[in-house]
């Protein structure tokens, strides 16, 4: 909470996050590619491959299709970083979800900022992805409030029972959201990391060089943020939560390699039926048993 910690402590935490999260995120993506390769019976790139990719992109020629692209890729990166900082400073989770929403919208608008057919398709699909996962994340925030009586993340750390016990349906729903946000099959619909040619590169088609590097950087922050949100389900002790998050991450890799890409319509339908159902049942149960705090 704002008053509890010393300002200096918070400042150091923020700097550590700003520097450490991309390193962790890049490594996670490297591990992702390595394990995926092994699952497919091949060797795969070295674990620090994402960093090679990042620096190579930084060294590319500065080209673009429209000036508007720059605004939105910076918007995506900055608001992703801000959301992560909100998580690390244990602030308001509902506001965090909205800031994450801004990041998502920025990416979509980046896809829309050129008159390119592939970017257009990618942007519209990315919007559908947002439509699929946003209700679950908002319900997740409300579920936390229902359980703790506050939207503050710091309050989660003060509870003695982990959230996983009371919010396990929401946990399942959030796992579903993780698949969408990590752009793993069956939901790698708008753009994805490998050579999926259906809509070329979707949202990121017209981005190149340094700006594409920024996109990767934002993705590294994002994976740390997502795993951080999952680890909130077991906040005391935190290492258990982080372990659960990493297991979820590995589970996503498994699902990615088993599943084929599905349609956007199927994704939205599934989310708005099962995802919402899980969230609503969870919250209704807590409301009826605990009342209003």
């Amino acid at each position: 909470m704002w008053g509890d910690r010393h300002m200096l402590e918070q400042f150091i935490l923020v700097i550590a996050t700003l520097v450490g999260a991309p390193l962790a995120g890049g490594l996670l993506f490297g591990i992702d590619r390595k394990i995926t390769a092994r699952l497919q019976g091949r060797y795969g790139p070295p674990v620090i491959q994402p960093f090679y990719d990042f620096f190579k992109l930084l060294g590319k020629e500065h080209i673009a299709v429209s000036r508007l692209q720059f605004i939105w890729i910076y918007g995506y990166l900055v608001f992703m970083v801000v959301s992560l900082i909100f998580l690390v400073l244990k602030s308001d989770i509902l506001l965090l979800v909205f800031l994450l929403g801004f990041a998502g919208v920025s990416l979509v608008l980046g896809g829309f900022s050129t008159k390119s057919p592939y970017a257009h398709f990618g942007a519209n699909r990315e919007l559908l992805q947002i439509m699929a996962y946003e209700p679950v994340l908002l319900l997740f925030a409300i579920g936390i409030y229902a359980q703790n009586g506050s939207f503050l993340i710091s309050e989660i750390f003060k509870q003695d029972k982990p959230l996983l016990f009371s919010l396990w349906p929401l946990f399942l729903a959030v796992l579903y959201v993780l698949t969408i946000k990590m752009r793993k099959s069956p939901f790698d619909i708008a753009t994805s990391h490998h050579g999926h040619q259906e809509i070329v590169k979707g949202v990121t088609t017209e981005y190149s060089g340094p700006y594409f590097a920024l996109f990767h950087l934002a993705e590294w922050y994002e994976i740390v943020l997502l795993l951080g949100i999952i680890s909130l389900f077991w906040a005391n002790p935190l290492w258990v939560g982080i372990l659960i998050a990493l297991v979820a991450f590995l589970l996503e890799l498994l699902v990615d390699n088993i599943a084929a890409r599905m349609t956007a319509r199927w994704m939205v339908r599934l989310s708005w039926s099962i995802g919402l159902l899980l969230g609503v049942i969870n919250i209704a149960y807590i409301y009826l048993t605990k009342g209003v705090s």
Binding site: Q40, D53, G59, K60, E61, I63
Partner: protein, 140 residues
Amino acid sequence: MGLMQTSRVKSPWILHFDNSSCNGCDIEVLACLTPLYDVERFGMVNMGNPKHADILLITGPVNRRTARVLKNLYNQVPDPKVVVAVGTCASTAGVFHNCYNVLGGVDKIIPVDVYVPGCSVRPEAIIDGVVMALQKLASL
């Protein structure tokens, strides 16, 4: 080698384009990406997008129509970039060099850095050629 140079060598992203080949070389290029040869362990990923690519793998001889397309794609690839002409047809048009619609090898339209002859090229030769191209990329 500096950080930038190392990264360029370690992370070559490919754009594969087929001019008008019989697809023999294309199949061999694809074979490189399969687990048997697994070029991803060198960081190579087949990005279908010129704006994301470093290495162009071109197959097939150039004809009038694909000349325009090849030029467009080459212009959209940001520097530094290298071009690898895969197969005899891409290098010199091979058996098709006198046809009425064939303009010649790829180097009639865009500058080529590495020629990989063969009909169709073995995956090992393709990998060899790409490694040679990478060394050139590192010096750019």
